[in-house]
């Protein structure tokens, strides 16, 4: 009974789709034939592994995924038998795709889709990246801009995903004036918002009331207080981390913490406040002998944070793409960094999520990338082995459904062949 009903539903749906496509979607569908990736093990990230599955790509998005996907006759087929297919990697911090010269207040104005870093990113399987430009100047705690971009080589129009996605904040215990300014500006903004709220609520009854004047330079703080954007800031020691967590308690702002080397010491505190972290498992920090409690780095950082319930993304020590060797410390080997977290006790699934869907969530683009799901951008990589195996290479990288990298045709790694 159930089966028949389901079939009927599917049939009706298909009929509807056919009718729709005939009238509405025809110009869209006529653009490009579909692409199908067939026969690989699909690491969907969000719904497990589909063995010997097929992904259908239409109009740059994943339109179907599963073991029984019908492939249209005119579709371009990519054979992925024996391969691992997974979403393009998401770098929660990167230096990629921005023209190297001059200053800019807007990343969209300086994107370089032909940058070598973009082609290196594609060869490394990284298809989405958080990039930032500029730092706060003088004692200003907020400054510069940031964006999430995709590595759409040669295609400027589809490169930018969102700008900005956070406020770049720099405060720390050694720069007390910045923190003072940060707190004062937040209070100023909070005060203004309260006055504005009172005014809006009472202005109909009391017409003599004047609209409160917005103090200058607090726009970014208003965005933080309204939780429109998170603050992104760095804190390595437990002391710095706790200092920043107080901001959540006082102002209710959203926070993304970077570095978090001693996060394992205060993992529960971080988890309690729903603060996300971006960590580097290989980060090294000597214990501080001047303090009485625990201190310093541990490879178990990621595992302990995860156990406490902290949402985490993983990035390597160096946020760029450089040719410093295959087992380098940069984004060329992003999965290797995640594998280090696994050797520190993190489960493999969370480690994979930390360079795909969770990284995408933290940088605010999980609605478009980070997993193999119907409706998401077809940013897909095909690997010749498990992503955490040291001999694994990216063989093919697709962004928006277009093949932008093939190992066998590229100068980077074509000469390296394993006899499997």
């Amino acid at each position: 009974m159930d089966g028949i009903q389901t079939n009927r539903v599917v049939y009706t749906y298909r009929l509807l789709l056919a009718v729709l496509s005939a009238f509405v979607a025809l110009p869209l569908l006529a653009d490009e034939p579909a692409t199908a990736i067939k026969g690989g093990d699909l690491y969907t990230i969000t719904s497990g592994i589909i063995k010997n599955g097929t992904i259908l790509i239409e109009d740059g998005r994943i339109s179907r995924i599963g073991q029984n996907v019908e492939v249209p006759k005119n579709a371009k087929v990519i054979d992925a038998r024996g391969k691992v297919v997974m979403p393009g990697l998401v770098a929660a911090t990167a230096e990629v795709g921005i023209a190297g010269f001059g200053s800019t207040n807007k990343i969209a104005d300086s994107l370089d889709p032909f940058s070598n870093s973009v082609s290196m990113a594609l060869a490394s399987g990284v298809t989405t990246a958080f990039v930032s430009r500029g730092r706060p100047s003088d004692n200003n705690p907020i400054g510069g801009t940031n964006a999430v971009i995709k590595t759409t080589y040669g295609d400027l129009d589809n490169m930018l995903v969102r700008e900005p996605v956070a406020e770049n904040v720099t405060i720390s215990s050694v720069e007390w004036l910045r923190k003072t300014n940060f707190l004062q500006n937040l209070r100023k903004a909070q005060n203004y918002l309260q006055k504005l709220d009172t005014y809006t609520r009472t202005k109909d009854n009391n017409r003599k009331q004047e609209e409160p004047k917005k103090p200058s330079g607090i726009d970014a703080y208003i965005r933080l207080l309204k939780r429109q954007l998170p603050a992104r800031l760095q804190a390595a020691t437990a002391g710095d981390i706790l200092g920043i967590l107080e901001l959540v308690d006082e102002f209710g702002i959203r926070i993304i913490l970077e570095e978090v080397v001693e996060g394992w010491i205060v993992a529960e505190e971080i988890a309690k406040r729903d603060v996300c972290v971006i960590i580097t498992p290989r980060h090294k920090r000597r214990p501080n002998e001047d303090i009485s409690g625990p201190s310093g780095s541990t490879l178990e950082n990621a595992a302990i944070l995860k156990k406490a319930g902290v949402k985490l993304a993983i990035v390597p020590t160096s946020p760029n793409f450089a040719t410093w060797g295959i087992a380098g410390r940069d984004l060329i080997t992003l999965p290797m960094e995640a594998a280090f977290a696994v050797s520190g006790g993190l489960d493999e699934r969370t480690a994979l999520e930390a360079i795909t869907i969770t990284a995408a969530e933290i940088i605010g683009v999980a609605d478009r990338v980070g997993s193999l799901q119907v409706g998401k951008d077809a940013d897909i990589i095909i690997l010749d082995g498990h992503p955490f195996h040291h001999k694994t290479f990216v063989e093919v990288t697709l962004v928006n459904g277009k093949v932008l990298y093939e190992k066998k045709n590229s100068t980077y790694f074509a000469h390296i062949q394993h006899d499997n």
């Binding site: 023209a99 207040n105 807007k106 994107l111 032909f114």
Partner: protein, 354 residues
């Protein structure tokens, strides 16, 4: 400068490379009042004419460098600015050896361009000779130059300048007039930018101003957007050199790649120095060796740059009615042993090899 009215000169040559209508064997060029009156191998030679008998030599049009800062001081540094009123003529010092040297190297026309970034001013088309800036100027058509960089401040300066002139049909304001002329396509606009990515930004920025006659002064790497440049019919000026394909050490011939994609190219010396100008034919020969079509190469140093500068009606090829700017060469232009025997500017011999 101009030859006296009625003065006639006839050149009898082994070969004449007209560029626009092929090669003429045993060619005869009749020159009157500084212009070519007749050209062919079946041309009547006037009795009163002075004969230059070079029947073992090849005649080639004077070379045109469309974009140079030779003899000018270093480009200004600092951030972008908007100076559409700025004229290269005011920056020109005619009494310099460089101009004589590049004239001897075969360059009879040079497009001199302002440096810097932003709306950088108006370039000038000059002959590399003369005692006053006005004597050097060939034509009044003053091209506009834009130095682009992909950042918000540069974009804003260019956009604001163009928007200020967009609605005007004419203007006497020296800050607006050059922009109006450029927007209406009366003068060409020379663009500089660094990578192909920057050019995509620039094409996007200039999209609303469809009448502009754009010319891209490029470095290497622009081959990556060859298709777009061909589609938009934007001609490109390139240094006469081969490049490395980034990030490799593989040699690529960008002029040939762009030409193959259907982009009109002009070539300029790989170094904007006297030496660079003196070596020019050998630089071109190297490009031909590594794949650039020889006929395109010849056009890329004569008629194409003249077209880009908007002076092809009188320069860039050997045709009746055009200025008698020509080179008398000892042999084929790309041959290793070929020397420049004579340089003629508007009918006058201005250089003769010893």
């Amino acid at each position: 400068m101009q030859a006296a009215a009625g003065d006639m000169t006839v050149i009898k040559a082994d070969r004449v490379e007209t560029i626009t209508s092929g090669m003429i064997e045993n060619g005869i060029i009749v020159i009157e009042d500084g212009r070519i009156k007749a050209i062919g191998n079946d041309v009547e030679i006037p009795e009163t004419a002075d004969i230059i008998d070079v029947s073992d030599k090849t005649v080639f049009p004077g070379l045109v460098n469309p974009s140079s800062r030779i003899g000018l001081s270093a480009s200004p540094g600092g951030g972008p600015s908007s100076n559409p009123h700025y004229r290269i003529v005011d920056e020109l010092y005619p009494h310099q050896d460089v101009y004589q040297r590049i004239l001897r190297a075969g360059f009879t026309t040079v497009g001199l361009v302002p440096g810097g970034t932003g709306v950088t001013g108006q370039g000038a088309i000059v002959r590399p000779m003369g005692r006053k800036p006005e004597e050097m100027i060939v034509a009044e058509s003053e091209l506009l130059t834009i130095g682009f960089q992909a950042n918000d401040s540069n974009k804003k300066i260019i956009k604001d300048a163009l928007e200020s002139a967009k609605s005007k049909t004419s203007s006497s304001d020296p800050r607006v007039k050059p922009l109006v002329n450029a927007l209406q396509g009366k003068v060409p606009t020379f663009l500089t930018c660094r990578g192909p990515g920057e050019m995509l930004h620039l094409m996007k920025l200039l999209k609303p101003y469809g009448k502009m006659r754009l010319v891209l002064i490029a470095g290497s790497e622009k081959y990556r957007i060859a298709g777009q440049l061909a589609d938009k019919k934007i001609p490109v000026v390139l240094p006469a050199q081969t490049d490395f394909e980034p990030p490799t050490r593989n040699r690529i011939n960008v002029p040939a790649m762009l030409a193959d994609a259907g982009v009109k190219i002009a070539l300029r010396p790989r170094a904007d120095t006297i030496q660079g100008h003196e070596d020019f034919f050998r630089q071109i020969a190297e490009l031909v060796k590594s794949g650039l079509d020889q006929e395109i190469a010849k056009k890329a140093i004569t008629i194409h740059p003249a077209e880009m500068l908007g002076v092809d009606y009188r320069l860039g090829s050997l045709e009746a009615g055009k200025d008698a700017n020509l080179l008398i060469l000892s042999g084929a232009p790309m041959d290793v042993g070929t020397r420049i025997h004579m340089v003629m500017m508007e009918g006058k011999i201005v250089h003769k090899a010893p």
